[in-house]
């Protein structure tokens, strides 16, 4: 059995006096597609942001791809990670945000090529060639010269996905990537994610309220509540036969709100 690519070990995280994550542990296998579901405020975004090094942890350990994320091993001692170590670890991880976070002053092509050129020293021609392949994959080859403001939300999000993929991360984090979109634009983004899941062996962590999509997409579903994993299992187990009362009532509410499960 291969080693987990992500090992989260008893991490805690507080914002002021408010403890968002309290001794959270979880493991993700290479290539696994994981869906994180749960009520709003339960810490799903926070765990993704911690993995992307956008938030620091207060305690515990995280291993990514065999190395400590927030610690460096020096002469057998564990020291807090410095910026160099974090930069090296970030190469393994990419993230797509709820609100796209595209660079508004750069055209689609430049949004996608900027990071590979700056962080990996890829030559412009090679970066643009790769960008065109990725834009083609997300169905936006004809928008390479467009500015972000000229795109619809769904198109922006597909550019953001291409931009993250351009760095070829082993792990991709998706934080509610369709929840800011008009309903008719959701499907075009989900289709890209389906394609990614089918065609690559990337490890993918997905926070979502699209339960139907989570069911089809995920190998495993984690149900979060108040900073803890209350229940986890195969999609069928979680969605058809949830054992925990809190999972049941959450899914009931979601269905009542009109979501397909």
């Amino acid at each position: 059995m291969p080693a987990p690519i992500i090992k989260v070990d008893a991490i805690s995280k507080s914002f002021g006096a408010f403890k968002v994550l309290d001794g959270l542990s979880m493991q993700v296998m290479p290539g696994e597609k994981l869906a994180l579901i749960g009520p709003s405020g339960s810490g799903k975004t926070t765990i993704l942001r911690i993995l992307m090094t956008l938030e620091r942890i207060d305690g515990g350990h995280i291993q990514v791809d065999g190395e400590q994320l927030y610690h460096m091993e020096r002469n057998g001692q564990l020291l807090p990670a410095d910026e160099r170590h974090l930069a090296r670890m970030r190469q393994k991880i990419g993230m797509v945000f709820q609100l796209f976070n595209l660079f508004p002053h750069k055209c689609v092509m430049d949004n996608v090529t900027l990071a590979p050129m700056l962080t990996k020293g890829v030559a412009r021609a090679a970066a643009e060639k790769r960008a065109m392949e990725l834009l083609d994959m997300v169905g936006l080859a004809d928008k390479a010269k467009a500015m972000p403001a000229q795109l619809s939300g769904g198109q922006k999000q597909r550019v953001a996905i291409a931009r993250a993929l351009a760095l070829s991360p082993k792990i991709m984090l998706f934080d509610e990537v369709t929840s800011a979109l008009d309903p008719e634009l959701v499907e075009e983004v989900l289709n890209v994610m389906r394609k990614l899941a089918a065609e690559t062996d990337m490890t993918m962590l997905l926070v979502t309220h699209e339960m139907g999509f989570a069911h089809d997409f995920a190998d495993r579903v984690l149900f979060f509540d108040r900073g803890r994993i209350v229940e986890e299992g195969k999609p069928d187990e979680i969605f058809r036969h949830p054992k925990q009362e809190r999972t049941q009532s959450f899914l009931k509410k979601i269905i009542a709100a009109g979501h397909r499960v």
């Binding site: 090094t53 609100l99 055209c107 990071a115 931009r163």
Partner: protein, 219 residues
């Protein structure tokens, strides 16, 4: 009539000196503004402290005093400047201190999500600043930079106090030589105003070009 055109020539010479001062002072101010403005948001305490000290000092003392120091006191420290050099130094440092706060404010006005996108794409701090944050902040700075440049233009007249023959100085010369007050002062009024208009127009043009594409309408 030929006499008047001679005097007008004097005034135009003064205008050239004023333009020269404005351009060189603005360049120095711009450099200082970026150094100090970025120093203010640095993660290093010492850089923040130096930038803050510079800004507070030059905003807290008058441009006259700064000019007199540059011209009359620095020689005692072994640094003798020409009137033009002293003028550029005082104007650039003074206006740079005001513009530094503009740079700082504009950098802080760029949303946190842009910084986070930089981190997620593994850009270094400086790379993110240079390619993502500053280009967006520049657009926020530009209108106020235009005001700063006009302030600088108007402040150039202080150099007449150290006998640099700028527009204001030449107006005084013409006035004392001709006894006419209206002609020289009306001409300098018009010239200062025209120069300020040119600055406004230039900055607005630059702003329009840089904003192109950002709103999704103009391409």
């Amino acid at each position: 009539m030929t006499q008047w055109s001679g005097y007008l020539g004097l005034i135009l010479q003064g205008a050239l000196v004023t333009i020269e001062l404005t351009l060189m002072g603005s360049v120095l101010a711009l450099i200082m503004a970026f150094l100090a403005g970025m120093g203010r948001v640095s993660r290093f305490f010492i850089l923040r402290a130096i930038a803050t000290a510079y800004i507070e000092f030059f905003r807290g003392t008058s441009i006259f005093v700064q000019l007199f120091w540059a011209y009359f006191v620095l020689p005692f420290a072994g640094l003798s400047l020409t009137p033009l050099q002293a003028g550029v130094l005082a104007l650039g440092l003074n206006v740079g201190a005001y513009a530094a706060e503009v740079v700082r404010g504009a950098i802080l006005s760029v949303g946190r999500e842009q910084y986070e996108a930089c981190t997620a794409l593994n850009l270094g701090r400086w790379q993110g600043m240079r390619h993502v944050i500053l280009p967006q902040a520049l657009l926020v700075m530009l209108p106020t930079f235009g005001n700063n440049a006009i302030e600088l233009l108007k402040a150039t007249s202080v150099v007449s106090l150290i006998s640099l023959a700028d527009l204001t100085f030449q107006a005084q010369v013409v006035r004392s030589q001709t006894g006419s007050t209206l002609m020289p002062f009306a001409s300098v009024l018009v010239i200062y105003f025209a120069l300020a208009l040119i600055i406004s127009w230039g900055v607005r043009t630059l702003e329009r070009r840089m904003a192109r594409g950002l709103d999704g309408v103009r391409v």
